[in-house]
Symmetry: C2
């Protein structure tokens, strides 16, 4: 399983625009076979909107990155943020 | 519920030292009443070790931050990383 954390510093006054599109992206992504979880969180300081996702494997992420909802919505989200989306992929460490 | 994401750029050759202490911190933290989840993840590019935690409420985080395991282990973890731990607190947005 792979977790993705994608952090966004959303431009002032663009939060509602960002969330409207993010909702569309999330609802479509959740329909994909390899999607285990896909949610959005707001930092308690109000500065960031961050996607936290869980995918079955790398193949599922590849397919997601090529989906129409991803390739059309993610560039639009980029217009509402400062800088670039900070994306990291993670695997859990067994203790 | 509050999620904490605490990202660490671990110094070269210090990964094992970091993980040994991180394991101690995680196992003690999981015993706390307000701890819902506490895990550590490695980024797929091998650069970061990131704690992903879930806490019942702000009170539980306050208590955690004052615990002996937190106040003794976290400063030691700081010796094994480049820069400072990048910590963000999050609340889930209902779609």
């Amino acid at each position: 399983m792979i977790k993705i954390i994608a952090k966004n510093y959303v431009k002032k006054d663009k939060k509602e625009d960002f969330l409207k599109l993010a909702k569309e992206l999330i609802l479509e992504s959740r329909k994909e076979g390899g999607c285990i979880a896909y949610d959005i969180y707001e930092s308690t300081d109000g500065k960031c909107l961050t996607f936290i996702e869980e995918w079955r494997d790398e193949e599922a992420i590849k397919s997601h990155n090529n989906s129409t909802h991803f390739t059309t919505i993610v560039p639009k989200l980029g217009e509402f943020i400062d800088g670039e989306m900070d994306v990291a992929l993670y695997k859990k460490i067994d203790l």
